[in-house]
Each structure stands twice: as structure tokens, then as C-alpha cells.
Amino acid sequence: MAALAAPLLTRVLKHNAAWVLALAPLWIFLHFGGMLETVAGGNSVSGGFDWIASLGVRFSWYVDGLSLTFALLISGIGTLIVLYSGGYLKGHEQQGRFFSFILLFMGAMQGLVLADSFLMLFVFWELTSIASFLLIGFDHRREASRRAALQALVVTGLGGLALLAGLLVVAMATGANELSTLLASGEALRSSPLYAGAFVLLLGGAFTKSAQFPFHFWLPNAMEAPTPVSAYLHSATMVKAGVYLLMRFNPVMGDTAAWETVLPLFGGATLLVGTLLAVRQSDLKLMLAYTTVASLGLLVMLTGFGSEVAVEAAVLYLIAHSMFKGALFMVAGLIDHETGTRNIASLSGLRRAMPITFTAGLLAALSMGGLPLFFGFLAKEEIYAALAGTDMWAVAATLVAVVGNALMFAIAFAVGLKPFIGPLGDAPRKAHEGPLLLWLGPLVLAVCGLAAGLFSPFAHHLFSSPMASAVAGEPVAVEISTIPHLGLPLALSVLTVLLGIVAYLGQTGLRAAMASLVRTIGWGPDRGFDQSIKALVRLSVAVTRIVQSGRLDIYLTATFIAVALSILVPMVAFDELPAMPQVTEFWFYELTVVAIAVIGLGAVVYARNRLTAIVSLGIQGFAVALLFMLLGAPDLSFTQFMVETLSVVILALVMTRLRLAVSEHRPLGQKALDVTVSAACGLAFGLLLLKVTQLPFDDTLSRFFEVNAKVIAHGRNIVNVIIVDFRGLDTLGEIAVVMIAGLAILALIRIRAKDGAQAVSKQTERAQ
């Protein structure tokens, strides 16, 4: 709704429209905020109405802790993002379009997390893909944008199809087509033989959306989008959809060996790949993008880990990540907006010029780095508490997490601290603090990260516990607080921080090392995507050349072969060949006329000159007319006579001016093929007709017309009564066709020959 109003408002209010438009997500935020108490008490809100009743599709929603937290994140961050983009794209000629897209996306995302029926889930899932395509390709004049947009659409769209298939399999296995009913039938799904299929397909959907390795490549490319989009889609919302899906299905599909192996494995791999590639980047946004990939990997790993604490950790980290990543992206955008560069090497010493941005960046970085007092710290403590264990599996996971977190720590400070300290860098523009619209968003989010950490019991009660309960499928209370207590998790935290500081200090060297490593490998899924798209284009061209050769005779041959086969094959396969005909009666006149028709046909084929061909054509036509006459169809006979006469006349009129030979010389092979095809078709139709005449005749319709022609329609010529009365509408359509044909012919003749010739020659030139 708001998306529709956006362009109009923007035209009137310029960038200040953001204030008005932000009211929409704000209202949604407050609306769902009102539900917090209910849901925190362990209840859920659901509702809906019949959408397509005949197919049993309901437009229904279901709100529990998981959906509610997501909904609040989406609308809350959404409010801030709308304000931010009001400032960021100030004066951009297509700001209205942008608002429209981003609100559309917001609506789709809300629908996705609130949807109850599978169909709605899928529809909104695809809507987010489409909206993100529009947003990423917003700057459609640049090729890189277009490529990134297409890539995101292809990857997530394919994932969406996998999701649809997966949901259908789940529905087949359990009979449920709504999430709320599915949650009660987890056991049935786990023991179903279809589990493996559903598992793979759903993971396909979730992994592509959440940019898990090896589908991670589209996310960093999507940084071609304007920064508000990156901040919103690729940190807080869109990519979390995959995680949402996994969390949603955790109660019903989790707790199996496959779930607990595949998820941590892919998640861990993504975490490592993401952080390592992030270190390599020098562009602020790209660094953040890769850490997003890494964070998503961490979330997937935790979701699949299986223990209750892991679920709590995942929930905490998800909330924390949404806040600090959104804030950092906006800070990066702000720096870019004010200084004109995002290159980390040329950015430093901005703390004087941009104090508010500095505050926001630093707060967010501290949360991302997981330092005490911040919400990110809670998340990290919980992560280590969840992963800590003695078996190989846990140790490996812990190791991966420590390395990943340490590198993320380094990057957090590279973005949130590095540009602000030290001597002033050589940025292209002289920096100064951005306007209110720009710094409001990051600051609010960063402060939220701190506040949530400080008042953690409150936050746990409202968000974390209900959400964790929904993910785990049973009541869970999150109790961790910011006061550090001694233990293994704390020790691991300290280790992470130390490692992170080392990495931060040595980031230049690390970057060079990683860059050379990536160059050595030289190939990645990103290049692979390009190659497969090119291959697809080449393949389609090749197929088109074969299928559409541009030669009429080939098209016709293929068509008639298909016709002959489609009649003959079923006839033989189902043993429906007609019985051997018994010709019992010979009607002399008719046989004579049949013979005339045959002679006429032969003469047409063998005619050596135009006149013979036309006359022979007339002979077979008149023979048909005679047959109609003899067999009780005088109307047909008259019409056929007239039509044949006129055909011959106009054919003669045209042919006298075409200097053409009607005879032809086909090569022998061609001739053989043509004869075979046409003979097969003739045989097919002949057999079909023979079979039809041997079946009992259903004369219901004919009898109706015979009985009613005089009584109802007052006419004695039944054929004419059918044409003008019973089937009058058909006839009306037909005379319209006759008239259109007349008009078309008139138009064809009236086009001046000269103009036409020029047009054709132009086209040929263009083709060459």
C-alpha cells in the first residue's frame, strides 16, 4: 500500500517524504510490539481467511516468538532504513521508485515471516527475490548492477523453486499445508521415507537465500545496490529468510543425523570462507558483505548443532547481528556519502569531522566484536557455551568459531574504528557530519545493541526466550547476562579478542596474503555463474538454429510427421486398427465421381503448366461438389460449386501475372521423404475414418436438430436452420472472419510495392 503512494509523495515532498513513509513500517512495528506480551507468555496469535477456497488455500498468518521477533526486526530496522535512504538518496531523480521498491520488499518480507500456509510462504519468498532484484538493479545503467541483480534473482529464484518442491514433499509426507499444523506432526515427517527429499530441497531453498557456501557469491556482488539496500536486505532481512526457514523447520525436521551433520558442515565452511574472503577486501561494504556471509554460516551451524544452548545462541546472535550489521552498513554508507570513497586504505582521522557517525560505528563494532556490556557479547558467550565439548566434532566447531569470530572482530574494528582514528586520510572529499536523516538510523541501532545488552533480562523475556522456544519446539528460558562469569566460554572469548586484535593490527599483511591466495585459485562460483550463463545462451542459440531453421518445408515435414505418428502409433499400440472393410454395395454414380476426383488429384500433381494445374484443381473440386449433391447435401454442393468457380477465377487472375513454373523437380531423396510422409498421413486419416465409420453412430445431436428445426425455429431446411439459428453465434463469428480476411487482402494489395521493397531490403541489410 505504502509502496504505491511512495512515488507520488516523493514528487511532492522531495526527500522529506521519508518522514511520512517511515510511518508505515513504524505503525507495523508498534502493532506487533503490542503483541509482545501475549507471545512472551508462550501463546501464539494466528488467523486467516479463505483465499482460494476451492483449492483449500487459505490466506493465513501465524505469529509466535520466532515470527514476532523477525517481524519487529524487519519493521523496526525498516523504519530506520527508510529514513536513512531519504538522506542517502537525497536529490536522486528516482528516489520515489526506490521508496516504492523498498517498501514492497518490506511488505514481502513481513509476509514471509508471518505466513502460515505453505503457499503464502512460497509466494512471499519469491516476492522478496523479485523485490531484491529490483533493488539491487536499482542503478540499472551500470552493467555490474544488472549482473548482480540477475545473479541474485537466478540464485534465489532457483532456491525458491527448490523450496516449493520441498514444501510440496513435506505436505505429501505429513498432509499438513500450514506451518501451525505441521509443527504438531514432526514425528511423522522424520520417520517418513520422503524425509531425505524434503530435507535436500528445503536446504536448497535456505542455502541459496542465506548465501551459504557454495552459493555465497551473489551476496557480495549484490553490494552494487545503494547502501540502504545493502544495509537492509543483506544484513538484517532478506538473507535471514533462509535462516528463518531453517529455524522454522528445526522443531519438525531437526534432531536427525542428516540435519545435525549437513547444517554445521556447510555453516562452518561458510563461516571460514566468508571471514577469509572478508579480510581480503579493502572496500568497506564488501568487507561487511563477506562477514555477513560468515555470520549466516555461523547461524546455520548453530541451528544445526542440535542442543538447546545452541538454539539460544543462534537466536541471540541473530538479533545482535541484525542490529550491529545494519548499523555498520549504514556507517559505511555514511562515510562513502560524505567522503566519496569506501576504500579502507584512504580513510582515517574522521573522528573530528564526523563524531556522531564515529559513536555509532564504534558502538556497533564493539557489539560485533563481542565485548562485554553489548548484546553481541551475550551472543558470543552463548555460542561458546553451546559449542564447547570434548569430542572431535565440538572441538572442530569451536575452533572454526574462534577463528571466524576473531577475524570478524578485526573487520568490525576495521570498519567501525579505523576510518576515524589516526591522521586525516586522503579522501576525495572533505568530510563533515551527515544530516540527521543519515546518522539517526545507525545511531539508534547501535544504541539498541548496547541497551539490549545492559538490560538483558528484559530483552530475554520479550524476545530471546519466546523465539528460542519456538525454534527449539519447547519452552526455553534464556538467562545469560552481561556480567562475565568465569568459565570456558569466557576464556574462549578472551582468546577471540586477543586473536582479533592481532588480526586487526596485521590486517594489511593478511589482506595481501589472502588476495594472492585467491588469485592462485583463480576460479570461483562467481566465475562459474558467468560461464554457465554464457553456456546457456550458446546452447539456446544452437537449439534455436536446429529447431527454427527458417525453412518452411522442414517445419511442415516435422508437423506432418508428428500428425501421422500421433494417429498411427496409438492405433497400433492399443490394437484399435479398423476391421477389414467389407464393401457390400457399389453405387455406380458415386464410384464414377470418385474416379473423376482421383484423376483430378493426379493431374494436379503431374501438371506441367499453370493452366493444367488450375483446371485439374477445378476438376477435383467439382467432383467433391458432385459427391455432395449425390449424397443428399444440395446446400453444400451449391456452395462448393460456387467456391470452386471463384477459386479458379482468382487463381487464374493471379497466376497469369506470376511467371512461375507449377511443376518442380525435387531431389530424389527429398521426394522419397515427402512421399513417405504424405502417404503415412493419408493412411492415418483413412484408417481413422474407417475406424470411425465402424463404430456405432451417436445421433443425439442430429436428432435434436431434426426434431426441433420446424417446431422451434420454423424452418424446413435443417442445415440452414442450424447455421442461422441454432448455431447463430458461430456463424456471426465466421462472417466476421470472412470480412477480416477481405480487409486484410485489401490492405495487402493496397500497400505500395515500392515502400514494401524498401522495407524488406532494409531488413536484410540489418540482418547482415
Partner: protein, 125 residues
Amino acid sequence: MEPVFAALVGLFFAVGIYLMLSKHVVRILLGVVIFGNAVNLLIFTAGRILREVAAIIPEGADTPVGPISNPLPQALILTAIVISFSFFAFLLVLAYRAYQEIGTDDTDGMRVAEPAGEPLPPIGY
């Protein structure tokens, strides 16, 4: 008599299709006309044939007296004849104009819509 007609219809189809497979537009046109007759005869025969009794109710009666030929296929064919004639006229003029513009009646030479050797579409984004 139906088997004889089935054979005749088969022959009509075979000749019509053979002519339509030609590369010469004029032959294709002749084929189309014969093809139309073939279809008409097919419908006619499928409605069963009867000799010399038109589908007309005698004066003074309300329903036909005695067996009459089947009126339904006749009604279908009657309109089909007129339509196929319009269609034929259109094709004829189209072929004639094409001959004037392109200067050939060989379908292989008519490649304005699908030129031979079209270059690859652009590969990029």
C-alpha cells in the same frame, strides 16, 4: 460405400500434404485447397453417408419423414467451405505480394523473418 470414401479421403490428404511439402508457394497453395476438401470430406463421411435424401422436412410435416442425411456435418462443412475460401484467397494474395517484394516463390528464399546466419545474441548483462 464408407470404405471407398475412407480411401478417397486418405488419397486427398496424401496429395494435399505432398503438395504442401513443396518448396514452391504455388504448389503449397494448391495443396491447401485440396487439404481443405479432404477435411470437409472427412467430416462429411464421419457423419455417415446416405444417398439422395436432403436434410429437408417435407411441407406440412413437423419432423422429417423417413431417413434423411445427417444435417449437422453439412452445417459445419458449409461454413468451413466459405472460411477456407477466404483463407485461400488471403494466402494467394500474400504469396503474390511476397513474390512481388522478394522476387522468388521458393520458400527457402523467403528469409526476412528468420535470416540465415544470424549473429549470436550479445553475451553480457
